[in-house]
Amino acid sequence: MDQPSSLKLLGSWADSHTHRVQLALKLKSLEFDYQEEDVVNISPALLLHNPVYKKVPVLLHKGRPVVESVVILQYIDETWTGNPLMPADPFERAVARFWCHFAEDKLAPAVGAVFSSSGEGQKAAVDQVHQNLKLLECEIRDGAFEGRRFFGGDKIGMLDIVLGCGSYWLSVFEEVMEVKLVDPESFPAFHAWLRDFEEQNEVKETIPAIDKLLEYARGVRQMMLTLSSSTITSVPATAAAAATTTGNDDVAVDAIDGSSG
């Protein structure tokens, strides 16, 4: 068996991609060293281990880096096969991968857009989030995940981790932006799943306290408004870095989830 120090995670405390990896390691009962990374002054370690994207999270296993959270999760799952995160059946696996990609590619950017926009733009972004949540809601209610407590079945699996670590931003943004994103009446199945997910001990140990996340989000939003940027790209590097990035340079998207990983 590996020595505890063979695993090291370079991450950032408010970064949902980092949380995914932390949660997966906890679910596998794996000990690891954690290193908080400064995303403003990128460390030599980060540059060395993730030269392509220069972002967290990076998992070092016996010194070898694995990057991109979904890639890392699969690596963890395939290296330590106890308590599997992915189903065994090829079709079930394809379904899980599809919705992980949906979470990354559609839902997360839509939620990010809510955070970074205002007025008409924000209304459109909120609509987009609702559309995406509707698709998920259908799938939970009477699609591929019908009758399950979690996407992984009775226990948390890969898709729960990917969707769950990031879904907390929904309630944070609801409060900071004063919008309704995940109304329990419109999305009862999603709501129920999220509530159950957040009740899990390992999840409680991983996700930062809600008031810290609120404070953080308020700070980033304030910075954005102060700079009164009309486009995301005009937000300078410091603001972007403060949002802690694992995805592209979109500040708001980075705050919750990038289009990568």
Binding site: E68, Q74, P90, R93, P109, G247, S260
Partner: protein, 232 residues
């Protein structure tokens, strides 16, 4: 499912789609028979809309009525469904992580804000744009190819001796190089000779040569699209 049995395998596809071609290559590598169905993307079939309600896009692989969507997802599904032959991913978890990383990079390219352009879109810019915008797009495209060439190095394939996921992810786009070169001032042979050589090696595989379209036909298609978009 019985070994080699392919009854009930349908691929909804579009002839020029590099994403569809990935699936065709993977199926050919595994020696699996399937029914190919050409979709009219301007008039999508009820089957396509039912099978991929979220994105309504090809390719979709329907396995005895169960749809799998998104090309790299389909390729991995094919690999896992027929694990006994022509593995498309290595056995070692770390090598698999590397393969997934690079396949994912091909999907999303080196991030340039916003929105993050994909390889397909990055290339699409080359024939859609003109002047300075096109020059900028050309530069970005070359940079991305060079990054990939750096990863390839002197290996036979991206996975080493084994033709696999990353090769499958990237090779269909090489059929578009001729079109990109014709529309923008670009010579892939000059800029990324190792990658071009890799492309030739891949096309020596029957799975690839059978699945990729003639670059001239792709160019005809691009010219048709240019007319549709009103680009000279």
């Amino acid at each position: 499912m019985a070994e080699g049995a392919s009854e009930g395998l349908v691929l909804l596809d579009f002839w020029v789609s590099p994403f569809g071609q990935r699936c065709r290559i993977a199926l050919a590598e595994k020696g699996v028979e399937y029914e190919y169905r050409e979709e009219n993307l301007r008039d999508k079939s009820p089957l396509l809309l039912k099978s991929n309600p979220v994105h309504k896009k090809i390719p979709v692989l329907i396995d005895h009525g169960k749809p799998v969507c998104e090309s790299l997802n389909i390729v991995q599904y094919i690999d896992e469904k027929w694990p006994d032959r022509a593995p498309l991913l290595p056995a070692d978890p770390y090598a698999r992580a590397e393969a997934r990383f690079w396949a994912d990079l091909v999907e999303k390219k080196v991030c340039i804000p916003p929105p993050p352009p994909r390889m397909y879109e990055s290339g699409t810019k080359l024939w859609k744009l003109k002047g300075e915008a096109q020059e900028e797009a050309t530069k970005e495209f070359i940079e991305m190819l060079k990054l990939l060439e750096g990863e390839l190095g002197d290996k036979k394939y991206f996975g080493g001796e084994m033709f696999g996921l990353v090769d499958i992810a990237l090779i269909p786009f090489t059929a578009w190089f001729y079109s990109y070169e014709a529309c923008a001032k670009l010579s892939t042979e000059k800029e990324v000779p190792k990658l071009v050589a890799w492309g030739k090696r891949c096309r020596e595989r029957e799975s690839v040569s059978k699945s990729l379209p003639d670059p001239l036909k792709v160019y005809e298609f691009v010219c048709f699209l240019k007319k549709v978009y009103g680009i000279e």
